[in-house]
Amino acid sequence: MQNRIQQLRKEQKITQEELAAAVQVTRQTIISLENGRYNASLQLAHKIASFFGLPIESIFIFEEETEQ
């Protein structure tokens, strides 16, 4: 699943460490999320969305073509 975490983080000039601390995960998890190697749980997705003040679906892009 693709996401806009890196784009939003850079726009707001936030480091991976700061974002990780804010959503209570390790920096490695943020790296894996940004690389698309790991999919966040609903709980983590919600925390990230709350942090950026945006709805979940505007951060995490669910592509139906990929799933098919």
């Binding site: 209570q24 995960v25 390790t26 490695q28 998890t29 894996s32 966040a40």
Partner: protein
């Protein structure tokens, strides 16, 4: 099912586990030296004695490390916060579960192949491995039923 223990409580419990490991290691080491009265160890092979003494030393070392590490965590709130984050990080939990699943599967098939080979070589080893295999299957199935009910 959420774990209700707080992280400081878990840390204290692990200190207790470290102490228990140290004690178990000490018992194993003393057993290997044949110092327990009423327990005959003269029949033990050198290899078995060596195994018990090595196991004992290993457990004692692990117990000390476990105890000291958790004691240091209790005394340093910043380190405890970092350790808590590492332990409760969802990706790390996912990795532990994935590792346990894949590792368990590989071990299970390894024991199965070893059982097949042992059947051609040694009857005692064959029957021991077969019991281990059957025991593992029963435990796996029972665990699955329990997890299905709980989750």
């Amino acid at each position: 099912m959420k774990n209700k223990m707080t992280f400081p409580s878990k840390t204290k419990f692990r200190m207790f586990v470290g102490a228990a490991l140290f004690f178990l290691g000490l018992v194993s080491f003393i057993l290997s030296l044949g110092m327990f009265p009423n327990i005959q160890t003269s029949g033990m092979q050198d290899f078995t004695k060596g195994f018990y003494s090595g196991l004992g030393c290993g457990l004692m070392a692990a117990g000390v490390v476990c105890f000291v590490r958790n004691l240091l965590l209790l005394k340093n709130p910043e380190k405890m916060k970092k350790a808590k984050l590492e332990e409760e990080d969802e990706r790390n939990i996912f990795l532990y579960n994935k590792t346990a699943y894949l590792g368990g599967l590989i071990c299970f098939f390894g024991v199965y192949i070893a059982t097949l080979i042992a059947g051609l070589v040694n009857a005692v080893v064959f029957s021991t491995l077969l019991w281990v295999l059957c025991g593992a299957l029963i435990i796996l199935f029972t665990t699955y039923l329990i997890c299905r009910k709980v989750y």
